[in-house]
Amino acid sequence: MSHIGSSAIRSDAWSKASGEAIYAYDYKEAGMLYGYLLRSRHAAGELVRLDLTKARAMPGVRAVICAADVPETLAGWSMLDTPLFARDRVRYIGEPIAAIAADSLAEAHAAAEEIDFEIIPGTPMLDMEAACRTDAPLVHADWQSYVPAEGSDFPRHGNVAAECSADPGGVDEIFATAPLVVEDEFTSQRQYQAYLEPKSAVAIYRDRRFIIHTGHQFPFNVRARVAQFMAVAPTDVRVLGHTIGGGFGGKLDYSVEPHAAALSKAAGGKPVKLANHRVEDLITANCRENTIVKMRSALDKDGNILARDVEAYMDNGAYTGEMSYMASFPFHLGAITYRVGKFRAVGKLVYTNTPPTGAMRGVSGPAMYAALENHMDNIAAKLGADRREYRLRHLFVDGDKLPNGQVLDNATILKRGFDEIEKIVPWSERPNNKSERPKSGKPSRTAPYKGSGLAAAIWLVNPLPGSLSLKLEEDGTVSVNTAATDNGSGVLAAGIPQIIAETLGIRPEQVRIPYPDTDVSAWDGGSQGGRTLQTVGLAAIEGAKEVRGKLLSHAAQLLQVDVSALTIKDGGIYLSGDTKRRMTVAEVATAATFSGAPIQGSGGAALPAVPYNPGCANGLLFPYFTSPTYHVHYAEVEVSPVSGNVAVTRYIVAQDVGRVINRASITGQIQGAVAQSIGYALYESMRFAEDGHIIEDNLQFYRLPLAVDIPRVEYIAMEQDSEEGPFGAKGSGEAPVLLPAAVITNAVRDAIGKPVRKIPITPEDVLEALDGIGE
């Protein structure tokens, strides 16, 4: 029986369900101290005095440190612009100023109160467009002195931390003469990853090395970051992974690990635990960035898009992290999925006095697709065209190109996505209450307005490489060593074991993959962008084939037969075409181990680079879409004219998955991703007050989707084997997050007959829009 496409049970499910699993937040070390970070309560200001003397003398206190106690270095994933502690200036509310390690958390808190410091508050820069004006005050006066973490410098200026632009010329002329121009502006707020386990780390300075225990999506990245901040070699840092209570991109970069490392060193090597309180976690999280997307299209009389012009502002927050790469996405996603003539784009990543933004599942995709698909609905409305028919008329097919010149070989599967959804809900039978909508005056009805939305997307699989090693144990099981991590998807708890089991002829539960240790685990690019199943899966097949080859050759010697005559099935060695088991895998493994030739294998993989036009844009740090995937989503909503609430009543996904490896896992990935983006579209409001503090700064006000909010998602896994994935599979866990905001805003617009120009769509927004009906 094939293990591919089954619902093999994840190896860690029982320990998680029974409460036995120890997460990073639970982790303790003998003699451990408790750390606490003193953080800025001002979004901008000059740090003019900082005296730790009194705090250092407080009971139970073992170390108090600030910028003066750590290397005077700037660190960062893509741009070296981030200090470990504020030195002369604070740039966001929540920025660390000092750190304390004490025998108890209460003593650390008490000592923090005794830190004597003064900040002369400045005016925080919060408005991205204002920040881009040439005379704007600078968030970083020294921006010119900053250097990228690797590679050559890229276009940036003043408060613009990165800029990616493309202008083929002649765009203005087309707009000037086009019969119809449609123009839209769409804004989105930040989205907090809101993993249930707040960030934490236990750090130990021992033998002149930093040992970091953390629950992290990308251990080698946190190793690199701690090394940067501490000004040591990467291998002077050892990162040990622990069970992760969710990440969604929020645990890809450093958080409290380097501060804990510095504290442990200052405390004479005692282990120090730093664990975020939820509020602290929320206000300092590297959220999905807030955006403003201005999009306009010039159309001919038949509705063909002659030209598109996109201007996007993306909030970088006070420091850059990996966001430089994201500035490429307005270019990639401004003219995608549907054919466009000439395309001009600029994406500006803007420094503000807010917490640094970062990756969240699907990075900049959900906001860009919401802007694009709303624009498509608006165009269709202006043309008096049917939304679905208009999309199909301009939909990419095989051979169409992305704006970077990359040719798409499988884009026609998009049409299949529309067809699959049509089979479930024919477009002609979608909910429609246009005839019931009042022509003027305030709505008098109480019955909900119904509407539907439809949208399509193209996405990529993260291109970073992965590797692993396998050893065959004497009992016929396999232990895998890799820095790849399972942040909850089940990819290492079920998917990769299925791939290895299928390749080797054993059962998935006979494959074990412990959490990583950067001292011994093979390098991996982290749990991001749907890459683990696909890239680590390819590496797993390579490694498992090596194990299989050695196993069969050893068995052939033992059985005195030719290796080509042997096969492995269900943990047994058989002569081909014979049903009698000759040996077990365990027997061969034992014999090999005790003959001094233990059976091991290793594998490494990277997705193939993609040909593209390097001259297509300036500052294109993220150049192309590796292993593209294709998606069509459909939603129905009911909008209450009384409360303004939007209920998502039906949701359908048609997704190009290559091949399903684990059915239960993919169901959970699609259902869970849609839930996250329903939150993004409707509930998860994150606003900044004038002084730069986050208004919705705890889980009472930052409203996450609940069981009563989320419909059962129906999905069609469109299987079409990929040549670039294990058993034809493509990374599929990230992409279903891309489109819910797009289809839900379009469905709300359809329901209430008014454009939706921002997410989240709050009840207040809905009621305000309904009040204006007929105006």
Binding site: S7, I9, R10, D12, A13, W14, S15, K16, A17, S18, G19, E20, A21, I22, Y23, Y25, D26, A106, Q193, A194, Y195, L196, E197, P198, T243, I244, G245, G246, G247, F248, H277, R278, V279, N487, G488, S489, G490, A664, S665, T667, G668, Q671, G672, A673, V674, A675, Q676, N698, L699, Q700, L704, P705, L706, A707, V708, I710, R712, V713
Partner: protein, 160 residues
């Protein structure tokens, strides 16, 4: 100066006496003094439900419950839920794929055990209502609901 009190309560069927400081939460006592780390800390403000335990049989957010008030009461944590019903719930959530990162799972098992002790065959709407104090960021809830429905189906099978 915070005062310290000695509290005696039944924890998972066993009388336990422990010191509590001031307004220390029940969650902190369970996690830090009794090492019952299956009760998860998610928000410390009674919103996420990861720290759900049963107090005299009723689900509470242990982070928002003052430990001193537990004097003389009976507390069940995920570690103590080893009755047949709870076992079947755990097994079902494992099998349906209702566990992803798993950080919310113990609190959800505690909440659902309480629901199934009170109600023989809740429908999906009631299950979702019962879960609305437990945030899960990974699953979108469907496979968790499926687990409860599977347990109820099993109950019916056993009864007929």
């Amino acid at each position: 100066m915070q005062t310290t009190h000695s509290v005696t309560a039944t924890i998972n069927g066993r009388a336990e006496t422990f010191e509590v400081v001031g307004l220390e939460s029940l969650m902190d006592v369970l996690r830090n003094r009794l090492h019952l780390s299956g009760t998860k800390e998610g928000c410390r403000e009674g919103e996420c439900g990861a720290c759900t335990v049963l107090l005299d049989g009723k689900p509470i957010n242990s982070c928002a419950y003052i430990a001193r008030a537990a004097e003389g009461r009976e507390i069940e944590t995920i570690e103590g839920l080893n009755d047949d019903l709870s076992y079947r719930l755990k097994q079902a959530i494992v099998e349906t794929g209702g566990v992803q990162c798993g950080y919310c799972t113990p609190g959800i098992i505690v909440m659902l055990s309480s629901l199934l002790r009170r109600t023989d065959a809740p429908d999906e709407a009631l299950i979702r209502e019962a879960l609305s104090g437990n945030i899960c960021r990974c699953t979108g809830y469907a496979q968790i609901v499926d687990a409860v429905l599977a347990v109820i189906d099993g109950n019916k099978g056993a009864g007929s």
